[in-house]
Symmetry: C2
Subunit: 533 residues, 2 copies
Amino acid sequence: MADLRWGVWGIDADRMTLSDQVIDLLRQGLGVDPAAAPPKVRPGAVDLPEPVLKPAARDALTTVVGADHVRLDRDSRLLHVGGKSTTDLWRRRAGDADDAPDAVVLPAKHDEVIDVLKECSEHGVAVVPFGGGTSVVGGVEPARGAFRSVLALDLSRMARLVDVDERSMTARLEPGLTGPEAERLLNAQGLTVGHFPQSFEYATVGGFAATRSAGQASSGYGRFDELVEALRIATPSGSLELGRAPASAAGPDLRQLFLGSEGTLGVVTEVTVRVRPVPEAVLDEAWLFADFATGADAVRQLAQGGALPTVTRLSDEAETAVNLAMGGDVDTESPATGGCLLIASHEGTSASVAAAEKATTALLRESGGTPLAADIGHGWRSGRYRGPYLRDALLDAGAQVETLETATTWARLDALGAAVRDALTTELTGAGTPPLVLCHISHAYPTGASLYFTVVAKAASDPIAQWAAAKRAASEAISRQGATITHHHAVGLDHRPWMESEIGSLGIEVLRAVKTTLDPIGVLNPGKLIPPA
Amino acid sequence: MADLRWGVWGIDADRMTLSDQVIDLLRQGLGVDPAAAPPKVRPGAVDLPEPVLKPAARDALTTVVGADHVRLDRDSRLLHVGGKSTTDLWRRRAGDADDAPDAVVLPAKHDEVIDVLKECSEHGVAVVPFGGGTSVVGGVEPARGAFRSVLALDLSRMARLVDVDERSMTARLEPGLTGPEAERLLNAQGLTVGHFPQSFEYATVGGFAATRSAGQASSGYGRFDELVEALRIATPSGSLELGRAPASAAGPDLRQLFLGSEGTLGVVTEVTVRVRPVPEAVLDEAWLFADFATGADAVRQLAQGGALPTVTRLSDEAETAVNLAMGGDVDTESPATGGCLLIASHEGTSASVAAAEKATTALLRESGGTPLAADIGHGWRSGRYRGPYLRDALLDAGAQVETLETATTWARLDALGAAVRDALTTELTGAGTPPLVLCHISHAYPTGASLYFTVVAKAASDPIAQWAAAKRAASEAISRQGATITHHHAVGLDHRPWMESEIGSLGIEVLRAVKTTLDPIGVLNPGKLIPPA
């Protein structure tokens, strides 16, 4: 079962609290008022609707997975109510569990997933595949679609490292393995996947595949979709085994239909991924650039020269000031501060890290970069998974905080950044809650880069409507700029309205045709990804 | 219009002739008898069926592209009868033009392609997209399917470099550009695509995309599908514009449905590709390894260490002996010869080439490699596009010669090579024409590699049936080994019987559903790629 708790991220031991100084800054800068923070409903006080599951369906599911693995208890249902977007958290904090799944079903193997999908198609029960429950786009919202009942298909029992091919450097993983579980099993053999998104501690291998995940080290190791050699997929229409070679010209690459399919076309039951040796050396560097344009140009040159560090992350001026202030590294009131922070981490053999450090140092110096103290790089690494805990603390303090991301070509990056920043600022300022908008390049490529925005404002009395308006404004700006609506957060419910501008009406018809073939009754994750006809 | 001539490759000025010494070796080693070579029917003597195209269809097409670009003349039709497999050449040599298209239509732009597809759907005319006509798997065979008429959609008028984005390092290309045309236009701006398959001199950008082409330098520059940023596609159901960013999590990557779709799902009308600077330095190296296993292990280590040369090609013992003998570099009768030849070419800046040379030299020496004279590497480069001309000369001399290729993981590579070699040898020896089977690793990846086989034997009295049996035996061996039926030659007609073992019956249903959505009447390249229901 997923570890994530009701309405917050992670485990209690890792909770963050804001210092008085930070709260003062939020109060002064954004008008945030901790005393006015929306009240939090405790899980025990949440009103949960009665589960709707016909006895025949329940019996059929019990026959497939056993009675212990068809759960209708309150705790199981509460922990599978949607994902971890800020809107999800506001809803949970307000005690909203109206969308709780009617049951949580936990299959143990591929054949059981196939049989669950067949029974759900037979009995008309919607199925929401559930890995770590970390979606921030509504991807695991237990939506019923046209059906009376919905179950969360929790994959946490399918969590084996099936085998490792050390000569080919691949590993077969089951989908329910969380990031740390997969790494622990592989590390024991000296291997790593090298995939570390911010959700790493809870997100699962199946989710990485189903959402085209990108991790903090993807500039070095590659995005998750680039690491996938083969997939096993369960659908209501049967099984698919895709990927017979490192590369093939045997028609369209059908793996690429399931990577990013978000549980709407099938359930990922096994993923064969490329693995690498656990790095023998890790070097975290931090550099400062005079401004974002100069820093971005340096990152572009690294990418186009084939010299990207394993982690490459360039913050804009605002994010740099906040990050350095929160790390205590720089006095933000000093006029000597300013500029843009680049985190550049190298991982590999001692020799490859030394060579990479030498090559990037030369280029970054020539491009106007100044090296900063090593502890700033180390600070980034130690805090790399802390963002969601900081969000919980900010929400507690009465702040609105959410992130969004996009990507485009290098030529269009400046205009995209300005358009999204303007859209967010205009919308939230107009609503009486002027925001702080932070931005960084989270991933770089030879032809372009992603932009990752963090927005902080005073929470409005209806924080869900407040963010919905801001998100809509940003998404429309992204769409107008011709950029992608999401670089690595996937589509779910939240980005679905922009899928037509992303792939056109004919592209959507293609997705619908594939879905009808694989899921004729339409039980798989209804309403996600594919706009309704 | 395509440059390739009836029944042979390329242009007369580049014809090859075999030396008496080579002919003697073929005679002695394989029983090849030039006097018994099948006779060649001259194009002028070929019996061409009357074109079948209803006046209403012809009028509609003329309205779309103009009378000059709807061609029913004998020469146009002759030059669009199928591709350039050895079987194609045997058929052309025998004067077989039964499958000639009824017309050749030459659109000038995307909207004309859309309108041609609509008119063909309306009038029931099959459409075979035709770029350079270099398919070796029956991909451009003018098959009618269920229709009375078929036209070749020749894309040679769509041959512009639309624009270049020098900051993002991308270029938009029209599909009819041949390899040399695209390189000439880009080289003028200091840029290159870096895609050089053996068919480079005649193959087109649209064909590279439609077949998931891999080039000789793809170990360095990446396969063509990895270079594609965006695609514009024309289908009978309308247009698709796919690819809005270097990477995206906005659902399945639909570009990957059209890369490798071989004209069955749509016509590629524009390709945006990643470009790089024209290399300032090129260094061709040749190395010798004691045996194939040792050489393959060195290549594996280069790939897994991220140090693959731009061109990485390892020949087995037999191919090495033939290559060195034909290049005049080594006396094949000397017992000192033997071993396996590795071609390792580095392209890039002077500094990157020097660094790559240093890194690979150290690893190749440690792995048991011995550097050979520089002229062997240069010889490979000067002869890199000569293979098809050599084939023409061999067919003239009464030899059967054809190639096939596959790919698998490193762990399975030895077994795959042995199985294919055995299948070819057993089949052809059983038919009374014992073959010479040569093999090389043509492309390497961190997780595996391709194997490229060249088969030479005495041509049987029915050389088409002779090769069909050998090809079937090899394909069944590949399928049994779990390898891909094609690494870079695509599917066409020849590999279609093995598509079900490649992607499963459900994978094929997915392709059929996509095709029905985009091409409801089924006019697009009927019978190719997707097995019939």
